[in-house]
């Protein structure tokens, strides 16, 4: 047969474009989704019937058919199953179905893909309104929705954008002016957004901008990405969020791990199957101590190099263990002794004494801090950061000290003879005593 027959396609709902196997199911769907009174949940048979019921029983007006596409929300038009659908819409539906089949490259069946494009309620994903026009034009040219652009304003005008405000409000429109201008295109653009999300995006850059949370990797069950992230970032979220094809966000009240609830509950019990956690963490700790000791030895050897301080920073940043803090404290203490010995051996003038005092104070403070670390095992990181800063400062000072000492050595070479060794030694002893007293009082 060369001539294309107009075969009776599967029944579809005029209000939301969904397809059904059976007209009976279609009717049930319409009754449940489109002709159901939102106040008393009574299911009517037609759109006008619903409007009359609400007026008579609840004294309320219904201006649009619930859960319907914006261009199909006219409550006056009487549709029952497949009866009453205007011929133009029938043709349009056929055209969409046939046109879509040729460029379908998705997993979903072609018919379903077509159905998803015009949505009843736009998904919660938000796209900056100023991005809509280029999409919209492209998408609509492709799917032949252009003829519907004209009739849209009259439908949308009186009620504004039927579904949009409820969803657009939470992420507030950034460009209200553009919003107002693009009211007619907004609803359609939301379709484009959904279309983009559901198919392979034709504008990957834009679609990435739309979808703020990329699809999670730990849970393959999520069908479409949503802004409310279900990705395991830090705390494990308590539920999965799914956006179904009709644009309804479903939140599954189940932890996202791929385990049964019994397994999750059993984890908290000391059963034989769960005993592997402790070994891993202790091995981590032992590993962390070695980089730190090497970093600390770098302190004592490479006093002047700036690179050593940066390497210290990185190494210390990596480690998080108390053992490291303790070993650091020990190293710092020996360093302090070394530094003090150097300082004391060459202490001469006031300026020198001041510098030494500064160094000692810092070293003492550092030793005290390190000891505090050894005691307070829990608060490692903040202390370590402070330590790093102080160590860096100390090194800068040490560098200064060394520089000064070298200068003074040259100067004192001339005056070295006059200094009595005893007073220098006494000063040294005094400082040692002072330091030891401080250390003991910690």
């Amino acid at each position: 047969m060369g001539r294309k027959k107009k075969k009776a396609s599967k029944p579809w709902c005029w209000y939301c474009n969904r397809e059904f196997d059976d007209e009976k199911i279609l009717v049930q769907h319409q009754k449940a989704k489109h002709f159901k009174c939102h106040i008393c949940h009574k299911k009517l048979y037609t759109g006008p019937g619903l409007s009359i019921h609400c007026m008579q029983v609840h004294k309320e007006t219904v201006d649009k058919v619930p859960n319907s596409l914006p261009n199909r929300s006219n409550i006056e038009i009487e549709i029952f199953g497949m009866d009453g659908i205007p011929a133009e819409d029938l043709r349009e539906h056929e055209r969409q179905k046939n046109g879509g089949k040729s460029d379908s490259d998705d997993e979903e069946p072609a018919a379903k893909k077509k159905v998803e494009i015009p949505l009843t309620a736009p998904p919660p994903m938000m796209m900056p309104p100023n991005m809509m026009p280029p999409h919209m034009m492209g998408q609509y040219a492709q799917y032949g929705m252009m003829p519907h652009m004209a009739p849209m304003p009259p439908f949308l005008g009186p009620g504004g954008i039927p579904m949009m405000p409820t969803h657009m409000m939470p992420p507030r429109p950034l460009f209200p002016a553009a919003m107002a201008a693009a009211t007619t295109s907004a609803a359609a653009a939301a379709h484009a957004v959904a279309a983009v999300a559901q198919q392979k995006p034709t504008f990957p850059a834009y679609s990435n901008a739309t979808i703020s949370a990329p699809p999670t990797t730990n849970n393959p069950n999520i069908t479409a990405p949503t802004t409310s992230s279900a990705s395991a970032s830090g705390e494990a979220p308590k539920s999965q969020v799914v956006t179904s094809t009709s644009g309804v966000t479903s939140k599954i009240m189940h932890p996202p791990e791929d385990l049964s609830l019994e397994e999750l509950k059993a984890r908290r019990l000391p059963l034989k199957i769960n005993s592997n956690n402790l070994a891993a963490s202790s091995s981590n700790r032992s590993n962390n101590s070695t980089p730190n000791t090497s970093a600390v030895t770098a302190y004592s050897t490479g006093l002047t190099s700036a690179t050593s301080t940066s390497s210290i920073t990185t190494n210390a940043a990596n480690a998080a263990a108390t053992a490291a803090a303790i070993s650091k404290a020990q190293e710092v203490a020996t360093m302090a002794a070394v530094v003090q010995a150097q300082a004391q051996a060459q202490a001469q003038a006031h300026a020198q004494a001041q510098v030494q005092a500064q160094v000692q104070a810092q070293v003492q403070a550092q030793v005290a801090q390190a000891q505090a670390h050894a005691v307070a095992v829990q608060q490692q990181q903040q202390h370590q950061q402070q330590q790093q800063q102080q160590q860096q400062k100390q090194f800068e000072d040490l560098n200064r000290v060394v520089m000064l000492q070298r200068i003074q050595q040259a100067q004192a070479a001339a005056a070295a003879v006059s200094r009595p060794g005893a007073t220098a030694a006494a000063a040294a002893v005094g400082m040692v005593k002072h330091l030891s007293q401080n250390t003991a009082s910690m």
């Binding site: 069950n221 308590k238 644009g247 966000t249 791929d258």
Partner: protein, 353 residues
């Protein structure tokens, strides 16, 4: 207000919105198994296994009064499943990696089965030529035990951990992790009949064998954590071999809904209608063949973890308790588990409901 002599109606509607009979002395932790005694026993007995390591047994009288008859604790391990023997004199208790048999008359227990990991399901099979215990475990095996021997009669591998199972001779069905269902034929000796993958897109949580009008097992229903049930017929007459419906969902707004897991399901022994209980704290009655929902209960303040129908289909038991669906953080020790009984014969009758 507890009336010790039994017939209990709570004054506060908050925990018993359906005004059902409350079972006295319920367990202290969530119920993991709830089973009525088999038809062979004259009276109705109800056993409940719980995470508090106990199995309790009550006698249920016609008036709705419950009398605690026995309690057995299994040393610190949570009970994951329990079932009756076919003559109603013994109870099998699956606790941690073992299954014990509890002789109700002598109050003795003895180990009859063991796995490498906790046993999730245990069912007694009474066949025409043999009788044995079927145990499914998280060690990805299903074993069949003659209770007199310590070695299994048969051990079959599963594609993944066993999550749920049901037996209705000569069919046994097992739902596993990874969304698999394995169907076994139990005639002569248990053999794997069919593996089915991807019936539902989310984790399988409950499974039940359904019968046709002639009371022959003809298919099974699977419930997932995504508030969806699929009914699969094994030998379908028409090409459409399955029925799917959504349930246990509550609309939060026009475009978002909360979807709850189905924790348990049961088919009515006489009417063939289906009961589902969910994480949302409701139970629903369905006429699956006609795709009709017969009744949905009020939402209770806790999830319903398990349900059971008695042998003649007059009593429906359901257990309230926290099913861990929101993780550890939402566990509230002040919310005690409860078990309720309801007269359900007329409500589950598809013609009168």
């Amino acid at each position: 207000m507890y009336n010790i002599s039994g017939q209990l109606r709570l004054k506060t509607k908050s925990t018993n919105p359906m005004n059902d009979f409350e079972v006295v002395a319920p367990p202290d932790d969530a119920v993991s198994a709830l089973k009525f005694s088999p038809a062979a026993v004259q009276q109705n007995y109800l056993i409940a296994g719980s995470w508090d390591s106990s199995v309790r047994c009550w006698e249920v009288e016609q008036t709705g009064k419950t009398l605690p008859r026995a309690i057995k604790t299994v040393g610190g391990c949570p009970v994951l499943d329990a079932c009756w023997s076919d003559d109603g004199t013994k109870v099998f208790i699956a606790a941690e990696n073992q299954v014990k048999i509890w002789d109700l008359l002598s109050d003795q227990t003895m180990q009859v089965a063991a796995h490498q990991a906790p046993v999730k399901t245990c069912h007694w099979i009474k066949g025409s030529k043999y009788a044995c215990l079927m145990t499914g475990s998280w060690d990805k095996t299903i074993k069949f035990w003659d209770t007199r021997s310590s070695n299994p009669m048969l051990s079959l591998n599963l594609p993944e951990r066993c999550y749920c199972a049901d037996v209705d001779y000569p069919i046994a069905v097992v739902g596993t992790a990874g969304k698999n269902v394995v169907v076994y034929s139990l005639e002569n000796t248990p053999t794997e009949f069919k593996r089915q993958e991807g019936l539902l897109k989310y984790q399988h949580r409950a499974i039940a064998v359904c019968r046709d009008k002639k009371q022959n097992p003809t298919g099974y229903a699977v419930g997932s954590i995504e508030g969806r049930v699929v009914l699969k017929y094994l030998n379908p007459l028409n090409p459409k071999d399955r029925l799917t419906f959504k349930c246990h969902r509550s609309a939060v707004s026009a475009a978002s809904q909360d979807v709850y897991a189905i924790n348990d399901m049961a088919f009515h022994p006489i009417h063939g209608t289906l009961v589902t209980v969910g994480s949302d704290g409701t139970f629903c009655f369905w006429d699956a063949d006609a795709c009709k929902r017969l009744k949905c209960s009020e939402k209770m303040n806790q999830s319903i973890t398990k349900c059971s129908l008695n042998a003649n289909g007059h009593i429906f038991a359901y257990a309230l308790g926290y099913d861990w669906s929101k993780g550890y953080e939402y566990f509230s020790p002040t919310k005690k588990p409860q078990i309720f009984l309801r007269r359900c014969y007329e409500e589950l009758n598809p013609r009168t409901a």
